[in-house]
């Protein structure tokens, strides 16, 4: 395989990973707080639609903001129904996904009825850093992307900093690990949980808009193509940490990009093999990380075995 091909694969990987990173960071907050959002797919696709719709008359930035608000509203709905009214988290997640998929298609069909050319909006302009962008292999991948890609990077760093340096991050972890104790300590688990869900929703909406406004410039039904579910796998694979999630998303993006472009080489395998390749590898990585995590988990306990490293010093 040529260097051009690898450059293309890398650049494609980063584009494909961007929405996964953004939605994954959001879901990372949600799962860290002990909740689960199975509605990401619905939030993403409705965000993807609303982004194009709003951007078509109000511009790119308004489109992005509208998509975030869309995800936020769906997340607020989910919070109300699940955590206030006591509905089942999984059922509601599936319902939100159904709603998002249905509503986005419905509104799209009304907006662009048969016989009209699809509405397209300008996508976010790509960066061109001249010399840097011209570096072979990594130049286009690292320095020739749309600002949304760099936005995702900033978000990942921000999420990392929130967990590392803020009380909120600590409270999220505490609420997820042990809500009863956290509440006894004076943290409000419901409030923290709701906040993470809203963050998760807003980022899922944004992730959807990154697909339509970042690379396509138009909406078409089912454009998210199951990415909302992949996000769940990536979050677990990344052990719910921002860095892990970013790596997991990049890995999936790379696998997808690779299996798309490997088809254009001389290696001819059944196309279905290429299509399932990213999922199969993700499963394998999931197995490896689960196993490693298990070992690490046990290892940590063996090392700091109670009664050995610590000792009470009676006065």
């Amino acid at each position: 395989m040529s260097i051009e091909l690898w450059a293309s694969i890398l650049a494609g990987a980063i584009v494909l990973a961007t929405p996964l990173v953004i939605a994954g960071l959001g879901e990372g907050f949600v799962e860290r707080a002990g909740r689960l959002n199975l509605g990401i797919e619905g939030m993403m696709i409705l965000g993807a639609f609303v982004a194009v719709f709003v951007a078509s008359f109000a511009g790119l930035v308004a489109g992005l903001v509208a998509a975030m608000l869309t995800g936020l509203v769906l997340a607020a709905l989910m919070n109300l129904v699940v955590y206030r009214l006591g509905a089942n988290e999984i059922v509601v997640g599936l319902a939100i996904t159904m709603l998002g998929l249905g509503l986005s298609t419905y509104l799209y069909q009304l907006w662009v009825p048969a016989g009209q050319t699809n509405v397209s909006v300008p996508t976010a302009p790509k960066l061109d850093l001249g010399i840097l962008t011209d570096i072979p292999l990594i130049g286009p991948a690292l320095f020739g992307q749309s600002p949304l890609v760099y936005g995702a990077l900033v978000l990942a760093i921000a999420a990392w900093a929130v967990f590392r340096f803020t009380r909120f991050g600590l409270q999220v972890r505490a609420v997820g690990a042990d809500p009863t104790s956290a509440a006894l300590r004076g943290v409000r688990p419901r409030q923290i949980g709701a906040q993470t869900l809203l963050i998760g929703g807003a980022l899922a909406g944004l992730a959807g808009s990154v697909i339509t406004l970042g690379s396509i410039g138009a909406f078409s039904p089912d454009i998210t193509a199951g990415r909302g579910y992949i996000v769940l796998a990536i979050v677990i694979m990344g052990r719910m940490t921002p860095v892990g999630i970013a790596i997991g998303a990049l890995l999936f993006g790379f696998l997808q990009s690779f299996s798309l472009l490997a088809q254009s080489t001389a290696i001819q395998l059944p196309s279905e093999l290429y299509q399932t390749f990213p999922y199969a590898i993700t499963l394998i990585v999931l197995v490896l990380t689960s196993r490693a995590a298990l070992r690490r988990h046990l290892g940590r306990h063996v090392r700091s075995k109670p009664g050995r490293t610590q000792s009470l010093t009676p006065a």
């Binding site: 340096f165 803020t166 009380r167 909120f168 600590l170 409270q171 972890r173 505490a174 690990a177 042990d178 009863t180 104790s181 956290a182 006894l184 300590r185 004076g186 943290v187 988990h297 046990l298 940590r300 306990h301 063996v302 700091s304 075995k305 109670p306 009664g307 050995r308 490293t309 610590q310 000792s311 009470l312 010093t313 009676p314 006065a315």
Partner: protein, 521 residues
């Protein structure tokens, strides 16, 4: 009430006519309490008397239905724990409130007033507090990996660092060994010198005399006595709480029969307790074997191996003539199991009746015991489970009553061949604890092999025919009851003779080494 200086009453935490009702339960009924600065105020009472409820109200965790509270005369009506903390009232709940995934440092920062964490400053503050309290606990490992005792002490330290002027401790000693309790009480006294008021809830009445200045006795939600602790003997407190107690039955001589359960050179790993290293042990029919040891010395691992819940890495386990029994084989052969963590043995959503008949229903008609069909309600009454209503959910009972329920399922429905019990009376009031001890003795008398692990040495000495001491996953010492003294056991629990003695023979275990400081872990 003793006379107090106007300065002290001036800062006292006072509650008047506090009442609290949960559904049909009147947990508190017109209770008054005055907590004076610089004193330890013991709060005692039977299981379900309302101690924890009163404490939670003082600490802002629950709101009273009626009544008023003041601090230093100013109205005090905290709407949550943060509000109480702001007024200097802090609590270490009966169920510890440390988040296991987080270190003590992070548990402290969790509710800090700042949005951005200042780890370094917090670390300095906590280290300083540790130093002052003369405790050594690792601040940076997840508290989950600390021993129960260290978590307990750690949470107290966190509460202190948060700046408590009134500190409420709900049964801090229930799971501590004698050394740890001694250390804790020293800290408490030191705190009082500094003017802190301490509310201490406990079931160990001898502690009242040892450490408390004032004592309040609750019974069925009412305050039945309050006054200086010095005037009260443990017996008197006990009588106040529960009326006259029959003295513990005389120890009847028991002759052990055949070996029922046997471990040989068993090694086993655990991720929450010490690993077992070459543990050999026999439990014979009709004897009670006591297992002593500080928390995390491997008692939990030992119990799990004996109950078939952990598969050993090496060595043999045998019941009767069955090798490597599975947990279900053991159940079928009549092994009763009372785990340290009572929630392990109870399904909160099952009703009391279903809990009692769980083994019969779930293992099928070929049940382990030829069970006399006594109805659930009378079993519950026999074991004094309150309320004795078979249709209630197990999760709704108070901690002590859950323990009684667990014991009644394990011991109450037939005659077990083996009884494995870890802290069987933990968190129980005197009468309930005595009743359970009698059950264990009765089981042994009717031929069961009984193994009891406990942090309460008193209890072991009362029950056991033989005492083993565990240290760091080994059996460090073993004596027949006649040779046991508190000092010997205490030394063995601290590991003072374990390094030199690789055998469990009582003579070598006690006579070989002179303790040196290097042997301290």
């Amino acid at each position: 009430m003793t006379s107090t200086s106007s300065f002290e009453t001036g800062r006292a935490l006072v509650a008047r006519s506090v009442s609290k009702t949960f559904g049909a339960t009147r947990a508190l009924h017109d209770v008054d309490i005055v907590v004076r600065p610089g004193t330890v105020h013991a709060l005692v009472g039977e299981n379900g008397a309302g101690k924890s409820t009163l404490a939670k109200i003082l600490a802002g965790i629950q709101a009273p239905d009626a009544g008023t509270m003041t601090i230093g005369g100013a109205a005090y009506a905290p709407h949550d724990r943060a509000a109480a903390k702001a007024r200097g009232v802090n609590m270490v709940p009966q169920q510890l409130s440390l988040v296991g995934e987080l270190s003590l440092l992070e548990n402290f920062l969790l509710v800090s007033p700042r949005r951005l964490l200042r780890r370094r400053a917090a670390h300095t503050l906590l280290s300083h507090t540790l130093e002052r309290a003369d405790v050594d606990v690792d601040l940076t490992v997840p508290t989950r990996s600390l021993t129960q005792a260290h978590r307990q002490l750690g949470e107290i330290v966190v509460a202190l660092a948060e700046g408590a002027t009134t500190l409420i401790l709900d049964e801090p000693t229930a799971s501590l060994g004698p050394h740890e309790v001694g250390g804790l009480f020293d800290h408490l006294r030191a705190l009082c010198e500094g003017g802190t008021a301490i509310v201490l809830i406990t079931h160990r009445l001898e502690e009242v005399g040892a450490v408390a200045d004032d004592v309040s006795v609750l019974s069925h939600g009412r305050l039945v006595h309050h006054g200086p602790a010095a005037e009260l003997s443990p017996d008197r407190v006990a009588r106040l709480m529960v009326g006259e107690l029959p003295p513990p039955a005389e120890r009847a001589p028991r002759t052990p029969g055949d070996t029922v359960l046997e471990l040989r050179h068993v090694t086993a790993v655990s991720d929450t307790d010490a690993d077992l290293e070459a543990v050999s042990l026999q439990v014979r029919a009709g004897e009670i074997v006591g297992v002593a040891g500080v928390a995390g010395s491997g008692q939990n691992t030992l119990m799990d191996v004996l109950a078939g819940l952990t598969v050993p890495r090496g060595g043999t386990v045998r019941i009767d003539d069955l090798d490597r029994p599975r947990a279900v084989d053991l159940l079928e052969r009549g092994v009763a199991w009372i785990p340290e963590e009572r929630s392990d043995g109870l399904v909160p959503s099952l009703s009391l009746g279903d809990t009692l008949s769980l083994y019969d229903n779930a293992v099928g008609s070929a049940s382990r015991r030829p069970k006399e069909r006594r109805d659930a309600e009378s079993t519950l009454q026999d074991f004094d489970v309150r309320p004795a209503n078979p249709t209630l959910a197990a999760g709704g009972l108070s901690g002590g009553n859950q323990q009684k329920l667990l014991v009644s399922r394990e011991l109450g429905t037939g005659s077990p061949r083996v009884v494995l019990a870890y802290g069987p009376t933990q968190g129980l009031d005197l009468r309930a604890a005595q009743a359970i001890r009698e059950r264990l003795v009765a089981a042994a008398e009717s031929g069961a092999a009984v193994l009891v692990a406990s942090h309460d040495l008193e209890e072991l000495m009362q029950l056991a025919d033989r005492i083993l001491v565990m240290f760091s996953g080994r059996i460090a010492a073993e004596w027949p009851i006649a040779e046991v003294t508190t000092d010997k056991v205490g030394a063995a629990m601290a590991g003072l003779n374990s390094t030199a003695s690789s055998t469990t023979s009582p003579t070598t275990a006690t006579s070989t080494t002179t303790p040196t400081t290097e042997d301290l872990p």
